[in-house]
Symmetry: D5
Subunit: 147 residues, 10 copies
Amino acid sequence: MMTREDVTAMILSAKRQAGLTWEGIAASIGMSPVWTHSAAMGMNAMPAEKAVAMVDALGLPQEAALVLQESPTKVWQQAVPTDPCIYRLYEIVGVYGPTIKALIHEKFGDGIMSAIDFDMSVTRVAHPKGDRVKVEMSGKYLAYNAW
Amino acid sequence: MMTREDVTAMILSAKRQAGLTWEGIAASIGMSPVWTHSAAMGMNAMPAEKAVAMVDALGLPQEAALVLQESPTKVWQQAVPTDPCIYRLYEIVGVYGPTIKALIHEKFGDGIMSAIDFDMSVTRVAHPKGDRVKVEMSGKYLAYNAW
Amino acid sequence: MMTREDVTAMILSAKRQAGLTWEGIAASIGMSPVWTHSAAMGMNAMPAEKAVAMVDALGLPQEAALVLQESPTKVWQQAVPTDPCIYRLYEIVGVYGPTIKALIHEKFGDGIMSAIDFDMSVTRVAHPKGDRVKVEMSGKYLAYNAW
Amino acid sequence: MMTREDVTAMILSAKRQAGLTWEGIAASIGMSPVWTHSAAMGMNAMPAEKAVAMVDALGLPQEAALVLQESPTKVWQQAVPTDPCIYRLYEIVGVYGPTIKALIHEKFGDGIMSAIDFDMSVTRVAHPKGDRVKVEMSGKYLAYNAW
Amino acid sequence: MMTREDVTAMILSAKRQAGLTWEGIAASIGMSPVWTHSAAMGMNAMPAEKAVAMVDALGLPQEAALVLQESPTKVWQQAVPTDPCIYRLYEIVGVYGPTIKALIHEKFGDGIMSAIDFDMSVTRVAHPKGDRVKVEMSGKYLAYNAW
Amino acid sequence: MMTREDVTAMILSAKRQAGLTWEGIAASIGMSPVWTHSAAMGMNAMPAEKAVAMVDALGLPQEAALVLQESPTKVWQQAVPTDPCIYRLYEIVGVYGPTIKALIHEKFGDGIMSAIDFDMSVTRVAHPKGDRVKVEMSGKYLAYNAW
Amino acid sequence: MMTREDVTAMILSAKRQAGLTWEGIAASIGMSPVWTHSAAMGMNAMPAEKAVAMVDALGLPQEAALVLQESPTKVWQQAVPTDPCIYRLYEIVGVYGPTIKALIHEKFGDGIMSAIDFDMSVTRVAHPKGDRVKVEMSGKYLAYNAW
Amino acid sequence: MMTREDVTAMILSAKRQAGLTWEGIAASIGMSPVWTHSAAMGMNAMPAEKAVAMVDALGLPQEAALVLQESPTKVWQQAVPTDPCIYRLYEIVGVYGPTIKALIHEKFGDGIMSAIDFDMSVTRVAHPKGDRVKVEMSGKYLAYNAW
Amino acid sequence: MMTREDVTAMILSAKRQAGLTWEGIAASIGMSPVWTHSAAMGMNAMPAEKAVAMVDALGLPQEAALVLQESPTKVWQQAVPTDPCIYRLYEIVGVYGPTIKALIHEKFGDGIMSAIDFDMSVTRVAHPKGDRVKVEMSGKYLAYNAW
Amino acid sequence: MMTREDVTAMILSAKRQAGLTWEGIAASIGMSPVWTHSAAMGMNAMPAEKAVAMVDALGLPQEAALVLQESPTKVWQQAVPTDPCIYRLYEIVGVYGPTIKALIHEKFGDGIMSAIDFDMSVTRVAHPKGDRVKVEMSGKYLAYNAW
């Protein structure tokens, strides 16, 4: 039975052999690079047409398109990860989490930013003192229910 | 000896009594709301002039301006926090951390986004299906050294 | 500065002295017992009119009504709790969590049950072999975004 | 020696190939979808006749019926799981656990809701602002012994 | 507001000053020593008449009788405790837990020994090679539900 | 090299194929069911004659008798286990551990119940409101040394 | 109510003010330095006559003698401690623990060295390349029971 | 590539087949039993001549002598181990660690007992009330540097 | 697909067979020993020309040069490691970390030493009382941003 | 009884009021800044003359000089700390620990760098692309004993 891990490995191998980029793969299926990489890693399910486009673009077996459409069980590191590039993101959320919460409450009321109805981009911004990484997140505001 | 915790408590109390907002306090010292809240919580050190402005704006004792300028020891929750509004941020970083890393490597090379030479904003974006929270982060790209 | 913990203690003390029940307090402010207890414990923010009703019903100081309206930071036990009554709930979620996920995916698609747009009730159901506790939860279905 | 894991894998594979649903499999053995999925995952033992019906319905080897009848060792995640759909259930139990306990004590006395003499259902409820997931749990009240 | 911790401290102090034993206190309220000590430590709720008897026997304030009747939140050490006398009990349960489970399944079927409808005794048994501690536990068998 | 795990698997397989019970196996080697199961699981070493009897009773290879005589390294779950049948034992020890300690000190002095010079039984006791599981433990009292 | 912690603090204070050593205190009550320090720290109970001698030697209040005779709950660091002097002991036990076990089994059979019927000494041994610390432990061999 | 684990397994297998003891193996290479077992387990590196003697004594392949000379990465259980024989050693170090530290400071000054320039023995001491295990450790005293 | 782990194993094997040292390998590719070992272990990415030189120097397959150029995910032990040689480094950082922070703040202002724009050396320094290990670290100072 | 924490607080307060630097305090007692700060924080014991000099330099009470001479129990963060300046040091040790170990073994043999017979410095090094922090550590090489 073909698993998510199998499909992720096929995608990485095909990408390396064909010398593709995530940017390029994303363009070929008409989605954003963040979402495309994330779905390839098994962290998001693909709509049928996108799964088929992915399989076609990378020359994967047809069965892979079915696997890409299944709801994944998202497993990520609860212990703060050690890789410096990923760690810095946790450091940012650790330091600024209560600040983001305070500002959401000030601007919206008692609620949260959804991590489900959510999108994100990563871009390179030129800067004279050294280029900068820009990360933009957008999530729907959800208000707590009272009953 | 006046501590950071004392100063944070004084700021919160003065803010509540005067009915101020973080947006308003930030404007009065000429800084962004994210940085202002964060420094008030003891997560960033204030330059002397901003510390003085803060103390004046909120009517705090002069000694508080000295405390606000000291380098804080930043302590944050390594265990994933339980508050839903903050938890969702960890969930986002957990799910999309490897994706951000892959795209930084694709766009810049082997390195990271700095969490030190860094800034952030939180804004409200109107949307017909429900307004959205927008979080923007910008950090200097730092390349690994080889020697 | 009056804190959430102060207000919770005042509520518990007033309830004990007046011999009230959660059912009764909830009725007096026109909300459900689950939500009322939860807000009293500092796990939910109260709309202004409900906070005022609470303060009136229990004879608390007026400042308590302001505290009850603030957005709480929800802190709960990540380590599985030891109290048998609460532990059994974790055991149920541990054993049946993947089952609930599978059925949500089967009935709705790739998404989750919201814990924010959410309500719950606890009732006693008579039964010849021993009465039963009935817990009912209802949360809005949220579909994952693709972009 | 055929293990529980082997049988779970056979069931998942047969279900995928035959295009079945949990709802359908449950109907074919005359049990509820929650219990059926849970037993298929190795979290509940099946009575002999249900195990045979399961094996027949999915075309599994006869030995699988014996395995499905054995008492499983139930292993679940003590660390709070990361999958958003399952995490929200822990969040609910974390936030509302003490509330459920307080209401059980108010309605029944000193005791607990059994997680052994227990049943549960998951249903879809149509709603104009977006359909809702309904989870209903029912467990026998057990009073503490004094001796 | 008098707390459980206050009442436990009063009991221990009264016991020490009066030179009482748990055996003696238990006899004076007509309950077993195990249950009596456990309720005194705040791990079990007392029926009204026993709480009154306890308060009378030890000369505690009347309010203590109310506290002793409340449903306690049972908090115990999830990390294996270090005291050698208590640790040995964990070692026994760790080594023999799967054995007890196997024998319960062999003698009763798929289910558990209740820790709620439960009683226990500790006795001293004379023995030529050194006296022995005897611990006897008895709990109602509870069968898993299928639905 | 035949390992303890190999021998445990052979015993479980032979038991299943021959339709034996632990009670029966124990009787055939002249030991108690608790000790027999525990030794079969690799938690106790067998005296030579019992190991030979075990191997004969179940038709295992002769080398298995040597393995059954070796001193095992006892590895058990320090994290509280999730299986409900085993968990309830930890709950009992967690709730009543300090009580057992207090009663041992009252009846014997400063010391412990040995978990090495120790034995245990599990029996079924008929009861009109539902049969009960009875667990009896007996361990030598060991007094602390002063020097 | 005088606690163990109070008595430990009194002993440390009296020792500092009188310029005593553990060696000297131990001699004055006729016990070893290891046991004396350990009992002073609340890790061992004192026989009545030793407790009285301790109280007399250090000029403590008479009530302290009662506290020193009570059975302590021994709480020690399960997380490996950070102090380098204590850490090295854990490192030794970590590295050589399986070796000590293997040699006990080779010399005695299946059993353990008791930590209850146990004594220990710490001495200074002169050595040309630098003096050495000598730690000697002696514990009764306890054989596992089979039943 | 032959690993340390391979060599440890070869040693254990050769020892079992030849019916050797650690005492005997140690004698044949002219080292102590503690050090010999520890090096065999991969917790110490062997000088070349000892490695060759070990390989000759047990009839191992010549490559094993090279592996036995390499500096091992010593990995041991930070979580307190569950095997009763090894656990008692942790209990001793947990209970008496601060005592050993206090006596080292009293006899030597501010420093530690080295775990590197270190040796240890395990012996059996006959005793009328039951033979005793004697563990002797000796480590060089190292004083903290001030600069 | 050749992985980092494969390449690390090839390097270690080639080094052992050719009797090379890290010092020597580093010289042959014109880099420092610290960086060379670290990149070989998969903790740093190699520039193309260095990767090719490494592959040539050790006779590895050409594909290995591609793997050595990829950005690694740096995974290291968050739990303090047990190997004494590595543990001492954690002990140093644990004891002196706050001191290094205080001196950086005194000499530079509010900021950190970069672990990305960073280099390190390890050298042997002769000393009459025993040779010493010298570790030198150099990292760019990064000042916190205020915005 | 004056504690280490009291003395540390007095030093920090005196330093702030007098506007001193660690560099300056260290010079006034004739020791290095690293050692001086560390001893002030309670991580090293001071020789008598240095303790007296410290007390004189900062105008502390004489009793503080006694406290500064006592052997401290060094407690530091085993969980990786969150402050970015200290965290980077753990990241360095995590990433390069195995490299330092490999190079010590290559240059010295099987042993470690002592963290007891140890010294360290922190300096600022001017650099055209941004000044750098230089950390130098020196520890005596200690060879493992074989016996």
